[in-house]
Structures are given as structure tokens and as C-alpha cells.
């Protein structure tokens, strides 16, 4: 399958108004179809800011953000939602909702004139439910789902948009081992089988190293390293960025980080 460059963030610098320090300094990030890229870095390193800039929600001070070759700022929200599906870190449903209903919301950017729902919209919703293995839950209320099921439903909603890029912001925060693994396996499968591009923001360095094709390591707004996991997760660099002594081992050919106990 031909790799298509979908998200192209180039040399971006960003600063929040009234703050003396750059939140992002000359950061470059590309995500192509069939590729899973993980964004790593300690709290406050600029991960969320980078995602917001990449999605055109914040204009960069300098540098460029392009989606399919076109500047992010020029996309309408609706057109962008047909290319990029986002699973934000948080959302709170104001009113009780069922699984199928919430996944149907993903069709919004693709509905025809007058917002009519066509057969293809219903088919896309079914497909998305099936791919995320939540078709059997489709009549359940959202508040009856477990954390892992809920995250899969939210990914199904993003898939109903039929995007080419999936952006996931901390999708496994507060999930147990099984649900965490299921979710990473699901994202990996979508990337491999559907040729989706995926950008994953996560704190889980080890899972990112095992599942992602490339990592981008951020520290205080700087991209300190990017590339295949084994190149990025060098012991000295990881220690410096995360501010804690670590040992790096290898598992299945992927680097794994173990934080060390500090001698008392």
C-alpha cells in the first residue's frame, strides 16, 4: 500500500498568550497512512498542545501545519472531520445516551443535505461498531459500560467518520492490563488492515514502544528525538527527559523501560 503523508507538522513553534516560554519549539511531526506514531513525554512537555496545533485548534506562531497538503487553518471543521477522527481525552455526556446513538454522531460530517441519514450512514455505523467489537453492546446505555468498552465505543464513533487519520489522546488512562492491551491491539489492527494513520498520545512508554512504528519524544516543548522506538528510547535520553533513572531492556526486539529504585 502506498504511504500517503496525511499530517505534516513542520518546524512549528507555539506560545500561549501571556506566557514567556514557548510551549512548542521547532517541532516537526509527520504521520502517514498505515503508520502508528506515538507521542511521548512527561506531563507539561507539550503533547496536548502539539495535538491541538496539529488539529488546527490553535494557530502556530511559526512553521506550518498541513493536512493532506493543505494548511490546517484553511480546512472547515466539517471537511477536517472527514479526514481526521479524534478520540479526546475527556468528554462528558450531558444526557444519557445509548451506544449506537453516540456512534451515529460520528456520521455528522458526512451526512447529506438537510442532515438526512442514508443507508450508507447506517452501514458505516454498523461497520465501525463491528470493527471495534462493540456491535453486541449497541443498545446499551453508555453509563453501563466498563472503561474499556467505553473507549472502544468512542473509537467506533471516530471510525464512523471514516477518517484517514485517527488521533487518540491518552486512550488507556485508567484502564486495566487486559483492556489496555485490547485497545492497543485494536488500534494496531486498524492501522495494519485499514491503512489508517494513527497518532497516539500516551504516558505508557512501554506499550508505545511495542506497538508504534515511530515515537516522538517531547521535553519542555522540544522534540528531543523521533524515529523507531529503539533509536528514541536510549537510557541516558530517557533518564534526562523523564527525570528518573531507568534501565532499558529489550523485549520482542522493542526497548522496554524499567524505572529504577533510588538508593536510599
Amino acid at each position: 500500500m502506498d504511504r500517503v503523508l496525511i499530517l505534516d507538522v513542520s518546524d512549528v513553534t507555539f506560545r500561549y498568550p501571556g506566557v514567556a516560554r514557548d510551549a512548542l519549539r521547532a517541532v516537526t511531526l509527520g504521520v502517514s497512512s498505515g503508520e502508528l506514531v506515538a507521542l511521548l513525554g512527561p506531563n507539561g512537555s507539550g503533547k496536548t498542545t502539539l495535538v491541538r496545533v496539529a488539529l488546527g485548534l490553535q494557530p502556530p506562531r511559526s512553521g506550518s501545519v498541513r493536512v493532506l497538503g493543505r494548511a490546517a487553518a484553511e480546512w472547515s471543521r466539517r471537511d477536517l472531520a472527514r479526514v481526521v477522527g479524534v478520540v479526546p481525552q475527556r468528554e462528558d455526556n450531558l444526557f444519557p445516551q445509548r451506544v449506537r446513538e453516540t456512534v451515529r454522531l460520528g456520521r455528522y460530517p458526512r451526512l447529506g443535505s438537510f442532515g438526512r441519514e442514508r443507508a450508507e450512514d447506517r452501514a458505516a455505523v454498523d461497520r465501525a461498531l463491528e470493527r471495534c467489537d462493540v456491535l453486541s453492546l449497541c443498545d446499551r446505555w453508555l453509563w453501563t459500560l466498563s472503561g474499556g468498552e467505553y473507549q472502544r465505543v468512542r473509537i467506533a464513533r471516530a471510525l464512523a467518520q471514516e477518517p484517514r487519520l485517527l488521533v487518540l489522546d491518552e486512550p488507556t488512562a485508567s484502564l486495566d492490563v487486559r483492556h489496555e492491551m485490547e485497545l492497543f491491539e485494536l488500534v494496531r489492527r486498524l492501522v495494519d488492515e485499514q491503512g489508517l494513520a494513527a497518532l497516539l498520545v500516551t504516558h505508557d512508554v512501554n506499550l508505545a514502544a511495542r506497538f508504534a512504528d515511530r515515537l516522538l519524544l517531547l521535553s519542555e516543548g522540544n522534540a528531543v528525538a523521533s524515529g523507531p522506538p529503539a533509536d528514541v528510547l536510549r537510557p541516558e535520553r530517557a533518564e534526562r527527559v523523564f527525570g528518573w533513572p531507568v534501565a532499558v531492556s529489550s523485549f520482542d526486539g522493542r526497548p522496554q523501560i524499567t524505572p529504577l529504585r533510588r538508593p536510599s
Partner: protein, 313 residues
Amino acid sequence: MKWLGLVSALLLALLAALVLGPAPVPLAELWQSPIVRDLRLPRALLGLLVGGSLGLAGSSLQSLVRNPLADPFLLGLSGGAGLGAVLAIALHVGGPWAIPLAAFAGALVALGLVFRLGLVGGAELDPRILLLGGVAVGAFCGAVMTAIVSLAEATELRNAYLWLWGGLSAASWDTVRVTALCLPIPVVVLLAAARPLDLLALGEEPARHLGADVRAVKRRVYLAASFLTAVSVAVAGVIGFVGLIVPHLGRALVGGRHLRLLPAAFLAGGTLLVLADTLARTVVAPRELPVGIVTALVGVPLFAILLRRWTAY
């Protein structure tokens, strides 16, 4: 089936409004009776339009300000309208349209003020500030209003006071016509915003990711819903709780999707207000209660139940 139920409930309420009243009208002569044709029918229709508007405005505003306990009058319009009406009464402005026009103007001024306050943070309408701004503008108008009322004559005071509690007694074919003319544009604007409102219930940023132009939707919905409320308050005074309770009834009946919820809220709001008004003018006949008292007496207990449900988790 649910829609059939909603429509039949509305028709029954309208029928009750035509049949019941202090002056007995034999069923056979219902359509010939001038009491029914010139008094009860326009009054019932006005109740339908006003109650429907409040239900519709309440449903959209609850999603806009992301608060299921919001009422259209929470956004300061009742204060502005009341101040306008009391000014007109105190200044003895004559003519049948003086009070409605003054109330409408007052509501629009309050609407503009709250809207401007909602934009203080930047180009983006902040729903939390909208709520706070509404309360502040309402309190300010209330203070000025009370000052005027305290200086006014006793009969004027009573009129102003009764007007504030809402009523459909001023209904005529003219008010029905004028109200009906004001409704189509805001109603269409709100119905067109139905799907983006579904998205907005997830939060502003998730709605953006799903392709909604959140900024434009918020402005349109605020202006259209407030305009509907302003029209209602101008022709019928401040009728509380319809705009708060009806959206919840609607959601329980047809679900949360706004494309279904908004029309259902219009039907349910109309039905409720027609019933409440029939009660208001029959329980103490030949005198009548302001209909806002009836809606409050029914609405407050319902509100308490809702409050419990929403804070339960």
C-alpha cells in the same frame, strides 16, 4: 405511536380549553358561540404558541449552556421584559400594544447585554458566563423594577405585579397572528441546529472534532432561543418552569436527539400551557390566577424530582 400520543394530548388539551370555562357553552353550539370563537379559541392558540416556544427554547438552551436545569428565563430575559413592562405601566403609555412592545424591547436589551457579557473572554460565547451574566442582568433589572414599583400607585403596582406572573388573558386574534408571525424564523434556525446540538452535548471540543462549527452554532442557538423567549414574555409575561420541565418530558418520551426532541418539546410545551391556562381560569372562576402561578405550583415539585435525579450520580 409516541407522536400520535403527543398530538392527541395537544388536541384534547385544546378541546378542554374550548369547552371549559365560567360561562357554560352547550357542546352543540361550541362553534357558533362568540365566547369560544373570540375568547377561548385565540387564547388556547396563544397558549399553544407560547408554551411551544418556551419548550423549544428551553430544550435548545439546556444543550447550549450544558446545564440540564437551565430555564430560558435564567438568561436575564424575564428581568429585562419585566422592567420594560413596568416602565410602560408607570409612565402610563397608552394603547393595547404598549406593554407587549415595552416588554419585548426590555427583553431584547437584556438579551443584547447578556450576549455581550458572554463574549467578554474573546470571540467565543462562554456558556458559563452566559448563565452568570443572565443572573446579573436579571438582578439589576429586578432592582430597578422594584424601585419603580415602590414609587407607583397601588393599582398600577397590582397590574405590574400580576403581569410579571404571566397570563394569557390579553389573548386576541391579533396577538395570535403577531406571535405566529414571529415564530417561523427562530424555529427554523433551531431545527437546523438540531444535529450540531447533539454534538454539543458531548462538549465543545469533541463537537469540533466531529465537524461542528461550534462558535456559529452557539450564537445562532442563543439568539434564536432568546428571541422566542422574548416574544413569549411580551405576549404572555413570565411563565416559569415550562421551559425547564418540558425538555425533560420530551427527552423521556422521544429520546435525546434534537431532531426529535425539539418538535416534541414544542408539542408538549403547548399542551402543558394550554392545560395550565385552563386550570388558571377555571379553579377560582369567575376570577382567574396568573398562569405562571399554576406552572410554578406544578413545576417546582417536578423540578425537585429532577434535581434529585440529576444529582444522584
